[in-house]
């Protein structure tokens, strides 16, 4: 087991997200950990990777027909996928781990296709069984647990956030950055523009937060109470799909939006349609606030308040601030 090499995707390489720290922790349990980046990691990032036991960062130098792929294009799934496949061939790695996101899933699929590797999407656990990688998944809106073994030599796996508690290695190492050439196949797809939404909220990202407070139709467009409770808890804010489509909030929790599995999920003014439940039912503790005592979300929660969220949420926030102080 210890001679296995595990590659972890680090994209972007300008920060190490919590989800990547979780991946590094899981990876150390499977073998020797190395990272793959599409740009030079910063000094801070290298120090953090070292603390988590990463000995080598493989920095891809992608090129198409001899022309280097630069700028935003490096983050395109085709380029990331080709880089991961090339890194596996270079290092003879056995496992590639990526965080679960739409872009990463695309890159993972392309890498696995190029390598003839087995692919697992959205694993919640990973272990070794007789030399095979076995992935656990929580499916059907968190109602079933499945386990599958990868039967090919190489396994490409995307792992959902909050699947492990990030733990630094026992001894820090000093990572070395090594460049490697990647030939990217010609593509007819052109990137016209790419804009990364700047998050100025100061809140944790929705997909990685330990606590999530989400608002739905019941907010009637006023997310003030939702934000107030979230900030008292240091939580991320999300919405239901309906609320997001109304334009009340950007990112929504649901099986077509962000899938969350936090320690605590609080849904306010959300009835709990199957679509929404598919995106949050794997949460450890579920709390609901709804004025309708018949709301389906009450069937899957651990604690609920039947009442107006505009009254309940600010009061809860004030109480938490008071008792935390």
């Amino acid at each position: 087991m210890t001679n296995r090499t595990v590659l972890v995707l680090l994209d972007p390489a300008t920060e190490v997200r919590t989800s990547v720290l979780e991946l590094l922790t899981i990876a150390r349990g499977l073998g020797r950990v190395e990272a793959v980046a599409l740009e030079a990691p910063t000094v801070e990032v290298l120090a953090q990777l070292g603390a988590y036991g990463v000995e080598t960062v493989h920095q891809a130098e992608p090129a198409r027909d001899g022309t280097p792929v630069v700028g935003d294009e490096r983050h395109l799934p085709a380029v990331v996928g080709a880089s991961l496949a090339a890194a596996v061939r270079l290092t003879d790695a056995d496992v590639v781990l990526l965080p679960t996101s739409f872009a990463a899933k695309e890159a993972a699929a392309l890498a696995a296709h190029a390598l003839g590797a087995g692919l697992v999407i959205d694993a919640a656990s990973l272990r070794d069984e007789d030399g095979r990688i076995v992935a656990g998944k929580r499916v059907f809106a968190g109602s079933w647990d499945t386990e599958c073994a990868v039967t090919t030599d190489v396994a490409v796996v995307t792992v959902r956030a909050n699947s492990a508690v990030a733990q630094p290695a026992e001894a820090a190492v000093e990572p070395v950055t090594e460049g490697f050439a990647v030939e990217v196949a010609p593509s007819a797809v052109t990137l016209l523009s790419r804009e990364v939404k700047a998050d100025t909220s100061g809140r944790p990202p929705l997909d990685q937060a330990a606590i999530v407070v989400a608002g739905g139709r019941g907010t009637e467009g006023d997310f003030g109470p939702v934000e107030e409770l979230a900030d008292a808890l240091g939580a991320a804010v999300g919405a239901s799909r309906d609320a997001a489509f109304e334009g009340w909030w950007d990112s929504y929790v649901g099986q077509t939006g962000v899938t969350v599995a936090p320690r605590v999920y609080i849904g306010a003014g959300i009835s709990g349609a199957p679509h929404h439940r598919g995106g949050m039912q794997a949460s450890q503790v579920i709390v609901a606030v709804n004025s309708d005592p018949e709301a389906p979300i009450f069937e899957i929660c651990d604690f609920a308040v039947v009442g107006q969220l505009a009254d309940v949420l600010p009061q809860a926030a004030a109480e938490i601030r008071k008792r935390k102080a």
């Binding site: 739409f102 696995a112 296709h113 647990d145 016209l192 579920i286 004030a318």
Partner: protein, 275 residues
């Protein structure tokens, strides 16, 4: 404009879903067209309709063909697609397909698209953003890789350029993981659309009636000229070891707010050490 929509027959998410012998239970009464494929069908229909309106093609030209990989129960999904107005429905069925993984599924769908393309050129393959049973979202990408076509994934907005047939360009806008991108690629291409791309239409009465008796074409692996070893359990690169239902949650504690609901909520979080 000839468009193939790859669709899936899935267990209805409003029903109790589960596994038997490590396979997803697909009860005939509880299966349906994957809801997100309605967005794919809508996108395809609108593209063909826009072609007709612009006069690029005649009022009776253009075709939307739905292909699905399923057993005979999957006809339910194709009938639903007919109700929405698609022209042809093809079901690829073969005992050797059971247990297909992402790659097997993509290989079979790609073979079906190639076969349709032999009849007349295919301009575009459209899919939904995910199947609501597996939620992998990788089949469109793999389908593009198998067919060697450009892939434009997870479109929220779709625009088809008005250039010459030889160089028609599809441009999409997508918002994923906090990043907004505009991408373009020439036809033929693979496109996947999100549930924010459009509002699927409601079936009209005439189409509902016609859908009942419309012909469904059934193809086997042999019809596709595909080696059974690439699909089904034989071709799968993963093996399901177990599937276990999660224990039910304990009865919830429900408080009715009489002025102290917020304090009760805070108290629940604090006493369970969740803050």
């Amino acid at each position: 404009m000839r468009i193939v929509v790859a669709a899936k027959y899935v267990p209805d998410i409003a029903t109790e879903r589960g596994f038997q012998d490590r396979r997803v239970v697909r009860d005939p009464g509880e299966g349906t067209l994957n809801e997100l494929d309605e967005n794919a069908i809508e996108a395809a229909l609108r593209l063909v309709e826009a072609e007709r309106e612009s006069g690029r093609i005649g009022p009776d030209d253009g075709e939307v063909i739905v292909v699905t990989m399923a057993g005979p129960d999957g006809d339910v999904a194709l009938r639903k697609a007919f109700q929405l107005g698609v022209d042809r429905g093809i079901r690829v069925s073969d005992d050797a397909l059971a247990g297909s993984d992402y790659f097997g599924t993509a290989a079979v769908l790609a073979a079906a698209v190639r076969r349709i393309g032999e009849q007349a050129p295919v301009d575009l393959v459209v899919t939904g953003m995910a199947a609501l049973d597996g939620l992998g979202s990788v089949v469109p990408t793999l389908l593009g890789a198998e067919l060697g076509l450009p892939v434009l994934n997870l479109a929220k907005k779709v625009e088809l350029g008005s250039g010459d047939d030889a160089e028609r360009v599809l441009t999409i806008t997508r918002e994923i993981d906090g990043v907004t991108e505009r991408l373009s690629g020439p036809l033929p291409a693979v496109l996947s659309v999100t549930d924010a791309a459009n509002q699927p239409r409601f079936p009209g009465f005439k189409l509902i009636m016609a859908a009942r008796t419309k012909e469904i074409e059934a193809w086997s692996l042999a019809d596709l000229g595909l080696d059974p070893a690439v699909a089904g359990t034989a071709g799968a690169r993963t093996e399901t070891l177990s599937a276990t239902p999660r224990p039910e949650r304990a009865e919830p504690e429900i408080v009715t707010d009489k002025g102290e609901g917020g304090v009760a909520l805070a108290d629940f979080l604090i006493r369970n050490d969740l803050v």
